[in-house]
Symmetry: none
Subunit: 130 residues, 4 copies
DNA sequence: GTGGTCTAGACCACG
DNA sequence: GTGGTCTAGACCACA
């Protein structure tokens, strides 16, 4: 009733020094990799996502173009942008180790800022593996 | 024997779209947070660090200035830059536990997206405490 | 026996950044120029070609209209679209030889850039005359 | 002695339906491949090339970014853009056959428009191999 | 002065 | 209505 809202809920943080387009690209790749976006699924339209994220449409288009170039998504002219059938893990990232390091480098200062030590976090993580 | 080498081993990655200054600031805050840089410890000189990181000295200087402004480090003119004594008590949240869980929950999908398990992450974190 | 299949085998490449309409127009002009489409020959119907090329019928129609405007083809309402009799004599240049050399000189570096020899190109061109 | 003019002389044709950025990217890749731009050579600055080509600086920047992503050139922050040391033929184009076809598809209608046949051109090309 | 990011807004190609 | 291209112009990061 009224407009259907695509609850894909990507988020970008303008305060983060990481460029918006890089944040969004990472978010979409993650969504695909963890299966929240299934193969064949349509991504939000460029303009819609731009509105949702309070970001310029060009910024979104740039991300879609980058994903298309790396064959993570497929664009049908005049129709829309869709998740590709085959998103082999290797395509999602060519350098897992480096990427893991980067994520951890963003992770540590966030909890450290709250006064938690690495050991605190390890304890917490171990609880999640049980 | 000539030059003191500060083996702090910060790293910045010019391929990362995150600005160099943001990467460096994050790295230093992390080093302090995890105790690799103890209160009172001296940071490398601006020039030395610039050479080590293959980065312009202005960039390093700007980071040091930012850290000084937020009272994370202290500069003694003509002497050097040092880690401050007290991690700010002001940061203490009433819901630290909940906040930590949120941070962890935000990062787990990113790790999982690359195919890493929680145990992989724990291993990696433990390596950073050394 | 039912549908006539026009084996004209035009091709458009959706990955090519060149617009589809431009690709198709060029392909048809080429087919005429090299004699694969003789004067008087009927072009495929708009809809048929659209299906063959996996392209929207509007796109094909727009190309046919453009070709008609430049008097390369002729549409007989309710009958079909046909190649015109005369390649326009108006095109004849006084310096055709020099012009041809210029065109060739412009393209050779492009071939060479990909590591192809002139002989490779000749072979390729000969294949197109068949 | 006035300003040194970098005679790199790339050209783009706004009348060509091929997007400007695609024309420019092709031109630069060609220049590198045929050795007109040697490894280590600096590309014109974004703004300079934009002026030379009567094109917006963003368009040039987009091309440089694309070349950087495919590791054909290397950008040094704040310094400039340079041809990479190793431009293996495979990097220049992953699909030589397809690219050759595209070039030939642009080549044929140009000389056909002047009334030359493929055989005319072949004869001409053979003369160049001697 | 170098390249990079982002915005606003126009216009095009395609379905 | 979909994505793509291009422009003009602001501001940032870096040397």
């Amino acid at each position: 009733y009224g407009t259907m809202v695509h609850m894909t809920s990507f988020r970008v943080d303008p305060k983060d020094p990481t460029p918006l387009y890089a944040q969004l690209e990472r978010a979409i790749r993650t969504a695909i990799a963890i299966g929240r976006l299934q193969p064949g699924a349509q991504l939000p339209t460029v303009r819609q996502l731009a509105v949702d994220l309070h970001v310029n449409a060009n910024t979104v288009a740039r991300v879609y173009a980058a994903l298309e170039r790396t064959e993570v998504v497929e664009t049908q002219r005049g129709v829309g942008t869709f998740v590709r059938a085959t998103p082999p893990a290797s395509v999602v990232s060519e350098n897992r180790e480096r990427d893991l390091d980067r994520i951890i480098s963003r992770f540590i200062p966030e909890f450290a800022a709250l006064g938690f030590t690495i050991d605190d976090v390890i304890t917490r993580l171990q609880r999640r593996t049980k």
